[in-house]
Symmetry: C2
Subunit: 238 residues, 2 copies
Amino acid sequence: MNKVPVLEIFGPTVQGEGMTIGQKTMFIRTAGCDYQCSWCDSAFTWNGTEKQNINWMTAEEIWNTLYELGGDTFSHITISGGNPALLPSLGPVVDFLKEKGMTLALETQGSKWQSWLPLIDEVTLSPKPPSSGMDTDFTILENIIDHLKNHPKVCLKIVIFDEKDLAYAEIVHQRFPQLPLYLQVGNSWLEADDESLLQYLLKRYEWLIDQVMKSTVFKNVKVLPQLHAYVWGNKRGV
Amino acid sequence: MNKVPVLEIFGPTVQGEGMTIGQKTMFIRTAGCDYQCSWCDSAFTWNGTEKQNINWMTAEEIWNTLYELGGDTFSHITISGGNPALLPSLGPVVDFLKEKGMTLALETQGSKWQSWLPLIDEVTLSPKPPSSGMDTDFTILENIIDHLKNHPKVCLKIVIFDEKDLAYAEIVHQRFPQLPLYLQVGNSWLEADDESLLQYLLKRYEWLIDQVMKSTVFKNVKVLPQLHAYVWGNKRGV
Ligand code: SF4
Ligand code: SF4
């Protein structure tokens, strides 16, 4: 039986970032990642701390859980990780959810191709900048982007912590100018209380805006915060 | 000589709301509106208080001002009002800016058609809910939407202050289910200091999220705040 390692299913809630910011959606969070970003905000999906919570689920079990939570209030689902694109077994889940009439969004760093990726309605590729400690394999990323070239909704999203990350984002933008680019404020303060976090994030957002506004490379880009951190702080599962 | 009444040109800055939230863009704000919404946050465009600041400008003058402000840092321009769709004279401006390679966004309440509307890359139609004190002419709105039916980027945006506004948004959504719908938190506190405003807006945003999450009518919609109010409070021209 085809099963997928799932760590969290929650919603309906609002997507707080990126291409579908503000979207009413359900979340499915899969376990496992081929990266270990220094600032990963979902390290529990891959560092073993929640191994015992991984639920191996069939497409139907996933659908039933979604429906129990959301009833008749949703038609949009976001698949997140970890890196969901590690999982060939997501294919049947994607098929199942599409048959139910759902719109699907997915985020991956772009380190693995899966044949089911073109069936995702909204694909966010989020290559990781230097501050993550990870290296981008541009051959693989380029290959994925090439495979998705007729897809109407693919975008790039890069989290920015510092100047080096911005320089990396410039390179990515110049390499793939055809793709909409979202620059997102990094949240490196995962322990903050809500009030201080909000002030800190707004300062970082202003900094990023200032950098991008004067740039002649970033002409037609989007600069966004993580809205959910404004509303819910660092809380999980909302 | 074809001229347009302009009240403000500023940027580059970030679009704080709606379909292009986060977008790096220049703003052109035209004078004049056929509505008088009770909570209009740009009443100075139509209530006479800044009549002396209206600048009648040609397309080339507008472009020169944009270029003086933004130099080589931008390729996206937002035309806002007032209601810019009152102005047939915007046609030559739209042509001029498109020839310069610009991507154009525009917002209008959808009370007037102009032949240049299909040339706008990103059209936001924002019919006004009951709290505005205005009535929607659905025949005109439907006609505009029909004329734009092959346009790839048209959306509806409705500002929500209360339950009646939500009920209105449900009707609009059911009437035009094919159009992406953005529900936006209304800011009725234009006199607030920045700190209190932020807390107030976050509360209102949470309220709106709660309402939409339990709705079976709003399944696939986007719920957004006005980001610029978070960052810049009620300041103008940023
Ligand atoms: S790719 Fe994403 S999930 Fe994986 S380690 Fe990096 S931030 Fe975390
Ligand atoms: S339509 Fe827009 S500009 Fe005109 S009065 Fe209403 S809010 Fe103000």
